[in-house]
Subunit: 176 residues, 2 copies
């Protein structure tokens, strides 16, 4: 993993989601696939929550304490209890939070060898800063994919016989 | 399916893909998951090819000939034989082609009842214009999801133990 490429990808995500979701009608942005599945709005909330409580806090922990102190567990479901507001406001908050995260990351002026610095995951044990940053990128991209699919399934019945060619319409939605 | 909502979603796709893919390094934009799977570049090519040969040609066939004449089969793999150019050029072509498609669709001034007009799919038999337009939207969104996942899998090994929490990294890539 090359740090500059990873952070450049992370910097794209808010704009990509903004393009896809700004002003989208509630029937689209709040639809989910049943109990235990997430709407596009909730996925965006999950990403926003990660900015505040997951990625940078863990990077700080690695840089300050190494593997001596474990990360705080990340509450993947926190956003489900939030009061629902307009999606555009959530997009703005995510854009700002991501920018702040990347600014702070950049301020550490990390070298390639810093990516080998170790932290302690509460479940996995020792992990590296590089693994965590790669995970951040993957997490963005797979949640973007999840947004695309939950939006697509709004038209599951509308496509008629084409459903046979669109396996994603019948994929069990996962809240990853 | 509400026509204005469907076309508004179709109009978002080029910009969403542009945000995600413009200037992306070749190691990312051309990676695939092995034989029979598509890179982000190839998925974009598949979408571009559909503009020229699939969606509007079929809409025209429905509006001009109803169910009397079957659609031409769509060559899903045409883009795999194209000469590879810069992704930014392909994004520009897709943006222009999509705009032309939506302009032409808009010129037909379709009413809600037009969505019930029938055409003949070479395999499914009778289908409606509305089903075809819903399929177009779903096709965009599921291919956007596919792009997100093929990009994500570049870091399959880099994430270390987090792979256990990221099932999309081990999902068999499908060329849908």
């Amino acid at each position: 993993m090359e740090l500059a490429q990873a952070t450049a990808m992370l910097a794209r995500t808010p704009k990509t989601l903004e393009t896809l979701l700004t002003g989208l009608p509630p029937e689209w942005v709040h639809r989910n696939d049943g109990p235990g599945t997430w709407s596009a709005y909730e996925i965006l909330g999950h990403l926003l929550h990660g900015e505040a409580t997951n990625w940078l806090p863990r990077a700080r922990m690695i840089l300050e304490h190494g593997a001596d102190r474990p990360f705080e567990p990340f509450d993947r479901l926190a956003m489900l209890t939030w009061e629902r507001g307009p999606v555009d406001a959530l997009l703005t908050r995510f854009t700002e939070a991501r920018r702040a995260s990347l600014d702070e990351l950049s301020s550490h002026d990390l070298s390639a060898s810093d990516l080998d610095r170790r932290g302690r995951h509460p479940e996995f044990g020792e992990v590296t800063l590089g693994q965590m940053l790669a995970t951040w990128v993957v997490h963005d991209l797979t949640h973007l994919a999840q947004v695309g699919e939950v939006l697509a399934r709004r038209y599951r019945d509308d496509v008629g016989p084409w459903r046979a060619y669109l396996p994603a319409l019948d994929r069990v939605a996962e809240a990853e």
